[in-house]
Amino acid sequence: MALLELKHTDISYGKRLIVKDCNLTMNQGEIVSIVGESGSGKTTVIRAVLGLLPGGGKVTNGDILFEGETLLNKSKDEWRKLRGTDISMIFQDSGAMMNPTRKVGDAFVEYILTHEKISRKDAWDKGVEMLERMRLPDGNNIMRSYPFQLSGGMRQRVGIAMGMTYQPKLLLADEPTSALDVTTQAQIIRQFMELRDEYGTSIIIVTHNLGVAAYMADYLIVMKNGVIEDQGDRDHMLHQSDNAYTKKLLDAVPSLGGTRYV
């Protein structure tokens, strides 16, 4: 049985149809990279998988199945059990997701306590341990900080630490490294790969970095204007695809020693 299946999925915000006829099958331990046009619906697709579409957003056609079961009519309670443990998400901008008036530690402890019955002290220690595993030095200080006191990249790593706490079966990562420097990005990508290799975690990563997408992916998807415009394995997508948009994207990737405009 596939881990995740999207079947002819349409997603709308209000009356506007945003994602059209999206089909995807993913097995345990697979990594899928989604790249493509800004505004094409990448975030929308993965938010739909997690049942977290913003107000007005709705799957209007087709189905989304996780381990063979539809995700479309889960109750709030069922979602609470699934989210964070079986399916976890790392957002494009963890900073904006965090409540600015609460310290990182309070949010992290509360997150852990919704999933496990342990003492606050143990939850705190677990949070610190996760932060340090994500290479955030001085976890205690970070737990005691407000989000605005951390840099964008640090906030992002806090988000990743939370998302990875329970080694989910499926990890959805929306531009998880866009705000990170390249050495940290390399560490995080390596961490994702280790999660897959050690725990068989399946990952969907949305990224604008085609190098990262290609490095990680068993399978690449290119989205444009709400539809899957092109797809295939790495070799196909990098070297054999004759899709005009895929080629345009590949062409626009900046590279060291590449074109200079000045």
Partner: protein
């Protein structure tokens, strides 16, 4: 490489300290000296949390340094107040790393883009719609977006709204803090071409923070590399991969994901964690993670020395005492 008479802004000995938990002090910027030149682009790269945004925020007076001054048009702009400060905002504009926070969620895109123009009486109320559409199209968005609210947009679309708003004022200096990181590479290319054209036409100065070294080297003139609050290297952007000297700059270059890389290779990156800015090493900020670390590096911080015109590096490998 640059003519001193074209220098438009100079940051001198900028230090910023923040109070941290437990009565400690976090040094986000440590004695930063940088110059910006008319019509040129300064790229700023470095570890997340190393102080890049903290530094650039001084340029638009969102924060004031603990020590040091920033000279622009003969004045220290960190000390401007009231009407002078307000007027100066026309000259230096910043596009923020996370634009969502800087938009009023109740305002339509049209008004977000044109608010500064109206504030400074550059356009009339009746022109708002036309002007907003013009700038939307410049950043590769449909003119109809003028009617939307910021929360109804994707991350990359919001980023472009922020860019449109900043360029609309036609500032002399524009600072872009990771302003294209949420854009697909094709749109990113459009934006870079747009600002490079603006630069050529209007001779504007650009400060550009980004992590993508391939991107920065494609249009910057000069790149400053920052680590734990310190500038460790300043070098010409062209052929940065060939000229980089500081071990940290080299580590950055080695961690780039490229389409031509060997995908079967394990990822190499510095293994260790960056120290917290709360307990930066006494010597070179990078010494704990550097594979060329020498005894002196643990004791004494190297200062920037000029190795070539336009190229400075702070590393004991290249100082004479070592």
């Amino acid at each position: 490489m640059f003519d001193e008479k074209d220098m438009i802004l100079e940051a001198k000995h900028i230090t910023r300290k923040f109070p941290a938990a437990g009565g400690r002090t976090l040094v986000a910027c440590n004695d930063i000296n940088l110059k910006m030149y008319k019509g040129k682009t300064l790229g700023l790269v470095g570890e997340s949390g190393c102080g890049k945004s903290t530094f650039m925020r001084f340029l638009v007076a969102l924060d004031t340094p603990t020590e040091g001054e920033i000279i622009y048009k003969g004045r220290d702009i960190t000390k401007l107040k009231g009407e002078e400060l307000r007027q100066n905002r026309q000259n230096i504009q910043m596009v923020f790393q996370d634009p969502s926070g800087s938009f009023n969620p109740k305002m339509k895109i049209r008004d977000i883009i044109c608010e500064p123009l109206l504030n400074f009486k550059r356009i009339k109320k009746s022109e708002v719609d036309k002007v907003a559409r013009e700038y939307l199209e410049m950043v590769d968005l449909p003119g109809d977006f003028a009617d939307r609210y910021p929360h109804n947009m994707s991350g990359g679309q919001r980023q472009r709204i922020a860019i449109a708003r900043a360029i609309a004022l036609e500032p002399e200096i524009i600072v872009m803090d990771e302003a294209t990181c949420a854009l697909d590479v094709s749109v990113q290319k459009t934006i870079i071409e747009l600002i490079v054209n603006l630069q050529k036409k209007k001779n504007i100065t650009i400060g550009f923070i980004a992590h993508d070294l391939g991107l920065i080297q494609s249009f910057a003139h000069q790149i400053a590399v920052m680590y734990l609050g310190n500038i460790v290297e300043i070098l010409p952007a062209e052929d940065i991969d060939k000229h980089a000297m500081h071990p940290y700059t080299k580590a950055l270059l080695g961690a780039v994901f490229d389409l031509n890389m060997d995908f079967s290779k394990k990822i190499e990156s510095i293994d260790s964690e960056a120290p917290s800015p709360l307990d930066a090493p006494a010597g070179c900020p990078f010494c704990d993670r550097c594979d060329r670390c020498m005894p002196i590096c643990k004791e004494k911080r190297a200062s920037l020395i000029t190795v070539e015109e336009g190229h400075e590096v702070a590393c004991h490998l290249y100082t004479k005492e070592a």
